[in-house]
Symmetry: C2
Subunit: 360 residues, 2 copies
């Protein structure tokens, strides 16, 4: 019997993916040349549907890389001469900070309690900070940054570059991309695809900053500098032979999501997260980790397991073929993490919530 | 009707790949966690079968990256302080040289005529060259470096690091990996897989060199330094969420190739390349580009099209559902390139040779 994966990525495949893979094999997509007109059309389609789905403003571009982790490296190499500021509230925002440090930058981190968010203040851009990096939805803790805070900050501080991690929230939560300079995600979360592709959305200011660094003689990388990526993507190409199958699948799934309609997908996300939080609020032993409701993620719901060990809960759920994630890092045994992505139907989430409620 | 792809990568899928993908979907491989025991077993299997297939010596390791292009960047970052030497005889060996230059190294190139190979001489390691990079099989021209030349060179010059590009020859041509320090390939060539995975084989000397660079304060990268990759792969893991499906498929195809037996696969490669070269030698208008037989590739056969434009030949072959590659770069119109990989059966190559012979 098939399992239902509520793990926070890799997760359940979007329900059309199996058929798209079978079609891709039938059409021999993995065999066509990455320099062919046929593949350029695939890249163009994926760009088009992603731009449409995310409602990207004029002057925003899309590049395909191998993972969000790679994009962390490329953002730092291409936009930071000396100083980046990282708003850290969990393992993934912290990892971006570590990558900036390992690349030799004066990376600064502002840490808030895990399970909470650090709102942006104008003081953050003192001391020549060039880039503020923060995570919309911290997958390790289930805390979601309220975007209004960012929009207001950006309206007051137009000059500082903002890099936004939307790995586990896109496209389930609406983002006004005109208020950030770049954003990025990988596809094995809410797009419900196999892992192995990262998507970097960037505007002209990112390109200009990279040019400025290069003109100063700084090394911004080799085949995956933003200018190499940009030059190629304008021709619907990539510098290297990319994960072509995933680029194809991402376009297909984005097209499917447009057909279904994002308003419906987002309504369902809201409904399903309400069902899950209610089950946790009413539970005798589990409770939501993020106590402040305004910081609660809609897509990664994290519960403290109280006196229970998460491994026991995972085991019981597994008997019903339901797979949720354990806590992250030091909270592996004391928390569970539940993904609420577009791939998860209302019925599946209701079933999981029921099953959780039966646990005592 | 299905086409047969003789393009030099992406190319025809290995004949078991479709079934392995279907099984992967059935077993929900794309949904399992990249940190789970289940996925560690997959990584361990792939390492095991690749090591066995390539007969890797003790002390040689395997890391998974996103492309051979990425591996070019990582080799330079991790093993070269100042000076690398690139034996260039075509577009791909040249691209590695360009990547080294763009990363700020004093990269030197020794160019030979395209369609030929530059044999190694002891003078090459004068002037503190730290790494010699060369391409076993230059996919753009169809020239294959005779490995005996390398083995002899290495026996006289043990200290210099050697990086070997086996992108379009592995595993069809035998290599004694103990005579090089690292080698690398992508999987969309002779392994007959969808694109999006690069494999880096490296020994302890590569790790030691990277450590030496780091101890001097040099930046060797972030998440994909060789030490990060190595630390993770010892635990059957990768630093980021990788192309898990491709790692799974690579292990399955390596296992299949072991079942069939590499001696048989290599016998067939020899037979099929002989069939193709004979068809070209006897042809009224086509002729092999690589004139010196000792440099002729067994896996990428390149023909000059004489007075014909390659586009016309591709069109005619297409009518029989046979797809070959055009020439590379400036030779796009004056050459065709034919892949002879493990995925191509003797019958398919015979049919192609017949069809070519009928062209006048």
């Amino acid at each position: 019997m098939k399992k239902i994966y509520f793990t926070p990525g890799p997760s359940e495949l979007f329900f059309t993916v199996n058929d798209h893979i079978k079609n891709a094999l039938k059409e021999q997509i993995p065999s066509i040349s990455h320099r062919s007109g046929e593949f350029k059309k695939i890249v163009a389609n994926t760009k088009k549907y992603i731009s449409e789905l995310l409602n990207l403003p004029e002057g925003y571009h899309i590049a395909f890389l191998s993972s969000a982790t790679e994009i962390w490296e490329r953002i730092i190499q291409n936009t930071v001469e000396e100083k980046s500021l990282h708003i850290v509230n969990g393992a993934f925002s912290s990892r971006f900070y570590e990558i900036a440090s390992s690349l030799g930058k004066s990376a600064i981190k502002l840490e808030s309690n895990e399970g909470s968010c650090h709102l942006l203040t104008d003081e953050m851009i003192e001391n020549d900070v060039e880039l503020i990096a923060f995570t919309h939805n911290e997958t390790s803790t289930g805390a979601m940054h309220p975007m209004e805070d960012v929009y207001e900050f950006k309206s007051r501080n137009k000059d500082v570059l903002i890099a936004l991690d939307v790995v586990s929230s896109v496209p389930c939560v609406e983002i006004d991309y005109s208020k950030v300079d770049c954003a990025y995600f990988s596809v094995q979360k809410s797009f419900g695809l196999p892992a192995g592709l990262g998507v970097w959305i960037y505007n002209e200011r990112v390109l200009e900053k990279a040019d400025k660094l290069k003109s100063k003689g700084l090394k911004t990388g080799s085949y995956h500098t933003i200018s190499s990526l940009h030059k190629k993507i304008l021709e619907d190409q990539t510098p290297e032979t990319p994960n072509m199958l995933n680029i194809y699948l991402l376009g297909k799934v984005a097209e499917d999501m447009l057909q279904i309609g994002l308003p419906k997908i987002r309504r369902d996300i809201n409904y399903k997260s309400a069902v899950l939080y209610q089950a946790l609020e009413n539970h005798s032993s589990l409770k939501p980790f993020v106590s402040d409701e305004k910081f609660r993620s809609k897509t990664v719901i994290v519960a403290e397991t109280g006196e229970k060990n998460s491994a026991d809960i995972l085991k019981i759920l597994n008997q019903s073929h339901l797979v949720v994630g354990s806590g992250y890092g030091k909270r592996k045994q004391s928390q569970i993490r539940i993904a609420n992505f577009a791939a998860h139907s209302n019925e599946q989430i209701e079933m999981l919530a029921d099953r959780l409620s039966q646990l005592n």
